[in-house]
């Protein structure tokens, strides 16, 4: 069959895996590497639940082939916290109750992290545009926007 050996860096660790050529990065992360934080909501790029960072860019891992990750640096929700210390986004999501079922949450956190890395002082509108590729069926988005704003403040304080 068409199984390929792929070498990548995942959350800072040198990682090798074998996958089928038509397997998505999302399936590799979840089924081969045991990193089940990234979720599959739609599988077609619409919901953002599978969001990860590849070489510094926010992508839907359901629309990336595992083989495309060769030589890349992949960052997932599992790498967001620093050991036991939650990232400000994670703390503020909890504080502001910006989640209910939680399926969308890893994707929102990753997308919000990419936003704050680029722009630590986003307006409400900028937050909403940056998170337009992430869908949430539960929260109604308002609490998510508030949590991201609060986290941004925290991030700025720590700089």
């Amino acid at each position: 069959m068409s199984a390929v050996l792929v070498s990548t860096t995942v959350n800072g660790d040198q990682t090798e895996f074998v996958c089928q050529t038509d397997e998505t990065l999302l399936d590799v992360l979840r089924n081969r590497l045991g990193l089940t934080g990234s979720k599959e909501g739609c599988g077609t790029g619409d919901c953002g639940a599978c969001s990860v960072i590849v070489d510094g860019r926010l992508v839907c891992s359901c629309l990336v082939l595992g083989v495309e990750a060769e030589g890349s640096e992949v960052n997932t929700i599992e790498g967001l916290a620093d050991g036991d210390n939650l990232h400000p986004l994670q703390s503020k999501f909890i504080e502001h109750a910006a989640l209910q079922c939680g399926v969308c949450t890893p994707g929102f956190l990753i997308a919000a992290k990419v936003l704050l890395d680029r722009n630590p002082n986003p307006s409400d509108v900028e937050i909403r545009f940056a998170l337009a590729g992430n869908l949430c069926r539960c929260t109604g988005y308002d609490k998510i926007v508030r949590a991201v704003k609060a986290a941004a403040k925290e991030v700025r304080k720590r700089r």
């Binding site: 077609t44 953002g48 495309e68």
Partner: protein, 289 residues
Amino acid sequence: MRYETPTTTREAATLMAQAKGSAFVLAGGTDLLVRMKSGLIEPDLVVDIKHIPATQSIEKTAAGFRIGAAVPAVAMSENAALKKAWPGVVEAANLIGSDQIQSRCTIVGNLCNASPAADSVPAMIAAGAKAIIVGPHGRRTVAVEKVVTGPGAMSLEKGEVIEAITLPKRPPKSGDAFLRFIPRTEMDIAIVSAGVCLTLDNKRVIKKARVALGAVAPTVVLVPAAAKAIVGSKLDDLNDEVMEKLAAACAAACSPIDDKRGTVEFRIEVAGVLARRAAKIAYQRAGGA
């Protein structure tokens, strides 16, 4: 499925030309993977062009700009010179999908998906963009409006791969603009779209124009009659008569479908409205007002 990562466009073209079963070029994959997963296609070969240096960068050349076929749309917005010269093209490319999609999607993939609603295509056509095509028999350059021949149909021959898109040097006193109509502000497919590029003379009279419409015909259409309607006029006095002529020419070029997203009447009406609004923006950008 065989997955290949050639390092030259020639090599990619050879792989595509020699492929036995179904073979597809992979750029950002935001169309291709969706089609693979839905079972619409089952590729025997996927040729990933992202390892080819000639597809990876945006170059400012003596003739204008050269945008590699693997350049994601987000990189276009990060290129200040490109944004300054061709704001309409960059804005159109940046309308494709979410930030997640922007990190991956390319304007060549958008073109080769051959959808009449592809957002970057009317802007590229209005700007006079050309596709550099590499095939088993060599290299050729084709105007973007000649690449797509119908919904899902292309004028590319077996084995031909697009290496880059070129944009001309923006002539003095020129400006471009792109607008689309969607029911929400993000993440939707255009019901109608319009790209306009204008060049003015020293008296701010329109000397040259290109108008292209999306989602109102089987392909994106270049509308010479719409350009003709405004050449020789000024738009800064919001000349209603000229604008009416522009809208009428656009309406005449439309042969849209009727679907749940928009009726024929609606699409035709909005095509004229968007062309007028885009023309005003392009006119301002050209230094007209």
